[in-house]
Symmetry: C2
Subunit: 235 residues, 2 copies
């Protein structure tokens, strides 16, 4: 009954192979798990995506099975030893989870303590809503409501403002401030290389490069790798 | 009854004042117009936004009135000489237009030939949907369906891939390719400094730096300033 989450900002670090930068933390999190149920809905070619993930985890002696986008797969989710929701487009991912009813199945299992590994879009959907995704809204989900496994929003792939940029589109910080104008919620912005591990009532920032926490009416708070963020779970 | 649109990628160019880079084109487009109805819904502080736009157009001898987010303002839209929908957050803008019913009022007037000036989010909503916005989905509109004044999607603030970047989030090109995987539509991606002018059945690319046109199953097409894009209106 203890919530167990590992939420990665990104699945790949520049110059490294898929999941390589986070694999020690992933293996530590999974512990004795030898079977991972993979949700490939954020990319269009689900079979190729599943094959890539299977081949990466085969190196670690972990078997991967992909979920198909069908309501009948709820039984597969129900029986899973551990869950991995991969990155890609957050709107496509959430839309598919909603249409198939697998959103409820995943939420139920994760809340019962089945280990939940997320990367990028898979991390976005662990929050109450997808309102802090960076992705393009290429499909319209019935609702922005997501898995709601943690009581705060997450912004993966966080990038600091670049003072040398001549581009006039909003910086990430400006976008998150706009979010706070319309929503009174906490946002954990994970830089690439960072992740959040939740074990019951404990939350720890892992990886490199740290995170920033945005709250309405306050300056963003810088958080370093290794920091305990337990208070965010009860905010 | 002739459609008249001026759709700017961005309202401000790096190092210049608000609308300065495009003002000659805006004035040429507006011609004898001396009263502009401004839609400030994409920013939270609508009064400050309207004041900024009013002060900029006062220099050109054009009077600006801001629309309030109320259904009763449909009569104001109905009487407008010309329309300007400003930039900010596209989701907030569309949500407000839908809730107030002003989306229909704007669509009706623009389709009857009332000049429509859009910038950034105001350009996004001129397309059939907002599925190619870059903005964060900070509020959930009832539908992604927008003004549908042109038969193609628009991506403003288009940025070319940066080969020196170490950031692993999707490039804009990757995002638009993902859009085309799920939607069979044409996307006109306007670099900052570029704009699209539509006069009835004629569409012309204006400004500097050009545009790229994305279509499913084809390589993106580079388009230079001054190019005629009439064919896109009948695609």
């Amino acid at each position: 009954m203890t919530l167990r989450l590992l939420l990665l900002s990104n699945s790949t670090e520049h110059g490294k192979g898929y999941l390589d930068h986070a694999m020690p933390a992933v293996l530590d999190f999974l512990g004795p798990v030898r079977q991972l149920l993979f949700v490939p809905f954020a990319l269009r070619d689900r079979d190729a995506y599943t094959a890539r993930v299977r081949s990466r985890f085969a190196k670690e002696g972990i078997d991967v099975r992909g979920v198909r986008p069908e309501g009948s797969e709820a039984a597969v989710v129900e029986a899973a030893e551990a869950l991995f929701v991969g990155g890609g487009n957050t709107f496509r991912l959430l839309d598919t989870l909603q249409r198939t009813g697998l959103l409820e199945a995943l939420r139920r299992r994760a809340r019962r303590g089945v280990p939940y590994l997320g990367a990028s879009a898979g991390t976005n959907v662990a929050a109450p809503t997808i309102k802090t995704t960076n992705d393009m809204p290429i499909v319209q989900p019935a609702s922005f409501a997501a898995l709601d496994l943690v009581p705060f929003q997450i912004n993966p792939h966080y990038v600091d403002p670049d003072p040398s940029s001549r581009h006039m589109g909003e910086t990430r910080e400006e976008r998150l401030r706009e979010f706070l104008e319309d929503n009174d919620a906490v946002v954990v912005a994970l830089r690439e290389g960072a992740w959040l591990r939740v074990e019951g009532r404990r939350a720890t920032l892992g990886g490199s490069r740290g995170a920033r926490i945005f709250r309405r009416g306050r300056d963003p708070e810088e958080v370093s790798p290794g920091a305990a963020l337990d208070a965010l779970l009860t905010d």
